[in-house]
Symmetry: C2
Subunit: 151 residues, 2 copies
């Protein structure tokens, strides 16, 4: 297989045209939009992600969430603490494995969680306005390849 020449060279590189710059700005724009949508509900974009993961049973403890988001458990402990203080999440020591603290939504957390998918869909579709199905799939596959390249 013949390797394509690398896209960037030291001479041609300018930060404001780079893929890194664009990715960072798109990410910031998505987070800011979620923050705006969630502000009336008193929840940040970072908290949004945690609630959605717990609601969809993709994570049931701090370690799960940290793995899911590639952050560390220390940061996650503090995020969970904020959500507990807001009355959205409840902690309970697991009797089977006393190291872990199981997480579950409170009633008020469940009510809020039901609104989250609609917000995610609205923000994503806004940013993807005018994208064909093929472009949408292509974008995802290019991003996945970048992640795979990182190892």
């Amino acid at each position: 297989m013949v390797a394509a020449p690398p896209p960037y060279s030291v001479e041609s590189y300018t930060p404001d045209e780079s893929v890194g710059y664009l990715v960072a700005r798109v990410r910031a724009s998505l987070f800011a939009a979620v923050d705006r949508e969630m502000a009336p509900l008193g929840v940040s974009a970072a908290q949004f992600v945690i609630l959605l993961n717990v609601a969809q049973a993709r994570a049931s403890c701090a370690a799960d969430l940290a793995r899911e988001q590639s952050t560390d458990t220390g940061s996650m402990t503090r995020m969970i603490e904020r959500l507990v203080r807001k009355g959205l999440l409840r902690r309970a020591r697991d009797p089977k494995d006393r190291r872990v603290v199981r997480l579950e939504l409170t009633e008020s957390g469940r009510r809020l969680a039901r609104k989250l998918p609609a917000v995610a869909v609205k923000v994503l579709n806004q940013h993807l306005r005018g994208f064909s199905d093929a472009e949408f799939d292509l974008l995802k596959s290019l991003l996945r390849r970048m992640l795979a390249n990182a190892g």
Copy 2:
């Protein structure tokens, strides 16, 4: 012009397959890679961006940098303070407009700044391994369209 149907619906949405998730992870991967490369030089990825912007004369004061990165001047004041403490940056009140504080690299800052483009190019090319020129251009144009959609 006929509108394409929106890519996401509330029923089909799952966070770990979403473009938002992918963009966030790619951005984290790029930043982590720059952090790893710069760690021996004692500079973070966030500081990397500031030094590069000053070195390439894209910004000469805190307000410029804040605009460039869509952050606020308060955050920028503190970033600059860290770089001054590291001896990489110097501040000097502008005599023409006494509100602004001009920024310039120290000699040690200049030496370090010369190494930055190579790091950026290395990290980006790693993540873009196997991309054709067409795919590279396509990725950038899709990301730009997402930004434009955000308004």
